[in-house]
Amino acid sequence: MNTQASKKSNVSKWLVDNVIYVVLILLVVGIVIASPDFLSMTNLINILSQSSSRIIIALGVAGILITAGTDLSAGRMVGLAAVISASLLQATDYAYKMYPNLPDLPLFVPILVAMAATGLIATLNGIVVSKLHVPPFIATLGMMIGVYGLTSIYFDRPPYGAQPIGGLSEKFTNFAQRGIPVGSYEIPYLVIYAIITTVIIWVIWNKTQLGKNMYAIGGNPEAAKVSGVNVARNIIIIYMIAGLLYGFSGTLEAGRVGSATNNTGNMYELDAIAACVVGGVSLSGGIGTVPGVVTGVLIFQIINYGLAFLGVSPYIQYIVKGLIIVVAVAFDMRKHAKKK
């Protein structure tokens, strides 16, 4: 009797603790019931590849959230990186090149330039937050507005003015659009980049001092300081890493879409933050895991993809999406329900 009861309570405890994975599964089951042909390799690959660049962004944002910060400028940085990398990787024979005389650059140069730019900007965010003690919401809101101005200035220039930057070199689009053939399918490179990034971030969070410090700072900044953590330096590094991730993700976006404008990435931060919270990251800091974040993004993407696949009318999609987010988190909150 007793062991059975405790087994049962163990299962229900596991369910409560892992609600988001349950939500993920329920979602898929629900969609499959509504439309059995949802269960196909193509859909799986589509969802994974669509989630990839979002996972990379979300992992950057999540680190910042865990330090009890936030980053509203993430989306705009993605846009900046997209515009920079696209402008440096237009096909040499394309008629409307931003830099008509630019030679064909090796792929890694524009990626590094874009990552350097966003890394720098994010570092500035970190400095403003940790040294000037500006609340992260405001620091990054200011940055979000400022970076948009900056991107627009870079983007809207002679000779062709504010034109979407297209005509990307094949090398670049292949990098983001192709994949490794496996049987009759292709595993998109995007998915592989996302996996590699996820592993790296997992190691940083779990196996390095920086990771532990990140949790400490978010959990109790005063205690972290007294415990000998250099709070400011660690915060700056966490923001910087996020910036590098945005930069990488931005180049992937440009490659994936085949063009970039100053509007690329707009509002990505909201999706990223929401996905993190759905994935169990606490907005008050100190709590969050890599698998949780990845699951949060997947849940979002399955909602997006699934609703479109089911052919739900676009406006209804908004309502359903809003509802699912709230309900998923409401269930997840039950594990924190301390009282009673």
Binding site: G219, S227, G228
Partner: protein, 501 residues
């Protein structure tokens, strides 16, 4: 002791309360007579606070029933408890720091004039309460500007102001000085004369015997005994609490002070009012106590040594060399460690595990050659903390926030011991810790000193200072009033010095 009536005002019968993974209360009973002071005692984590939270409607109990004035009650929230004549001074200070004192006192029951709040009445009533309790705090000052002890007194005044029939006081004296404790006792006596019952939780034996009529003892979530205080001695209480004999309160001293390792000269804080011109020396293997009234800036002195507080002037010499501690990192590098006074705000990471809380200051030790942290070393060190500090925790992964206060404190001391400091700064290290654990901590301090570490220990408990230290620095209003040899001094001399300036 005053004559308590024989009818039971409150009966808690066979209360059981489970948390995920722990049975916090197992079939516990408690009977409290009207007009009596009933002490509730037990080690850290015995379940005292949990029992009171069940009474007060903060937790709902899983089994058992509560009779109040003969009627069965089950408060589902604090409001009901307050309205039915039960009020409580909470163990963790529960105040809205951004608001002022009177806003806090009347929170949840503001006096109103039509739909608006009657600020004037609020002020007058607060003044009246403070006057009757002889508390000297401006009702209009912000709570965040009060000292910890003033906050504590305001909490007590608030609980009293409900005019309840029973008042629960969960460690009300943890940040009060002797004078203030006496003050509190006067308040309790008066309440008692008005037939109010008090449930009094404390780890301070002297207080218990002095104030209480009856004592209920708990251990590991279970009810052990209820006895009249007249029949009890300190040793008996301890035996019931710990489950074994603890013949001495303080371990025998084994340390021997050697050469001077730390010399502090003319230390003055940058932002005044604070301490000024503080001089002292610390020897290897020595335990130096710091005594003083609350507000005498003891905390600020150790904070300055640890690099949290800026200095205007003065030097710190370590082994004859002048050093500068501008940040905790520097201090740690120089072999300092600091166990802070306010566990909750500057000690624990409540949402993180016991393991994390143990190793956070010692991270460099766990780096392997590849630069990553070694899980095994982390687990080993956590285990060392749990075992050597006798931390009661279900596992290394348990969130420290769900441990009792005393066990949290042990983890933090363990955290710093892992850094193998040369100089250990302890700010009220035994605040809120039960006698058994205290003894263990004293032993540890002794052992550390015997191993050649220099230890500075701030404490507001005089017996502790006299029982553990080698010398005592007495602070008075930000200045060093004198340094005395522990063996040759007395409580009176220290009190005199503490009031010098």
């Amino acid at each position: 002791m005053s004559e308590a009536s024989t009818t039971n005002l409150l009966e808690m019968q066979n209360i059981t309360k489970r948390f995920p993974g722990v049975i916090a209360l197992n079939n516990v009973s408690l009977k409290v007579k009207a007009g009596s002071v009933h002490a509730l005692m037990g080690e850290n984590g015995a379940g005292k606070s949990t029992l009171m939270k069940c009474l007060f409607g903060i937790y709902s109990m899983d089994e058992g029933k509560i009779l109040f004035e003969g009627k069965e009650v089950a408060f589902t929230n604090s409001k009901q408890a307050l309205e039915n004549g039960v009020s409580m001074v909470h163990q963790e200070l529960n105040q809205v720091r951004q608001q002022n004192v009177m806003d806090n006192i009347w929170l949840g029951r503001y006096p109103k004039k039509s739909i608006f709040i009657d600020e004037k009445k609020m002020y007058q009533d607060t003044v009246a309460i403070f006057k009757s309790l002889d508390i000297n705090v401006d009702p209009r000052s912000k709570v965040s500007t009060l000292s910890v002890s003033e906050m504590q007194m305001v909490e007590i005044a608030k609980a009293v102001s409900y005019g309840s029939k029973i008042i629960v006081m969960d460690e009300p004296t943890s940040s009060l000085t002797e004078n203030e404790v006496d003050h509190l006792f006067k308040i309790i006596r008066r309440l008692q004369s008005e037939n109010v019952a008090i449930i009094y939780i404390s780890h301070k034996m002297e207080e218990i015997l002095k104030i209480s009529d009856e004592v209920t003892i708990m251990r590991d979530g279970q009810y052990i005994a209820t006895k009249s205080s007249n029949e009890l001695t300190t040793d008996e209480i301890i035996k019931l609490m710990v489950g074994r004999d603890l013949s001495q309160r303080f371990p025998a001293k084994v340390n021997k002070p050697e050469d001077i390792i730390l010399k502090v000269s003319d230390l003055t804080a940058e932002t005044q009012p604070s301490f000024s011109n503080v001089n002292f020396e610390l020897r290897k293997g020595e335990i130096l106590g710091i005594a003083g009234l609350v507000g005498s800036k003891r905390t600020e002195v150790v904070e300055a040594l640890f690099g949290i507080r800026a200095l205007k002037s003065g030097t710190i010499e370590l082994n004859g060399k002048v050093i500068k501690n501008h940040s905790p990192q520097q201090a740690i590098k120089n072999g300092f460690a600091l166990v802070t006074e306010e566990r909750r705000s500057t000690g624990i990471f409540p949402d993180l595990s016991v393991s994390f809380n143990s190793i956070i200051s010692n991270m460099k030790q766990y780096k392997t050659k590849s630069g990553f942290l070694s899980n095994r070393k982390v687990a080993d060190d956590t285990q060392w903390v749990i075992e050597s500090m006798q931390v009661k925790t279900p596992s290394q992964k348990t969130l420290i926030g769900s441990l009792s206060g005393g066990n949290q404190q042990k983890v933090i001391i363990g955290r710093w011991l892992l850094t193998t400091p040369d100089i250990l700064l302890l700010d009220e290290p035994t605040r809120g810790i039960d006698v058994g654990a205290k003894f263990e901590i004293y032993q540890l301090i002794n052992q550390l000193a015997a191993d050649g570490k220099g230890i500075i220990m701030i404490s507001s408990e005089m017996p502790e200072l006299l029982g553990v230290t080698d010398r005592i620095l007495v602070m008075s209003n930000g200045r060093a009033a004198g340094i005395v040899e522990t063996r040759e001094t007395s409580q009176e001399e220290i009190m005199r010095l503490a009031a010098l300036y």
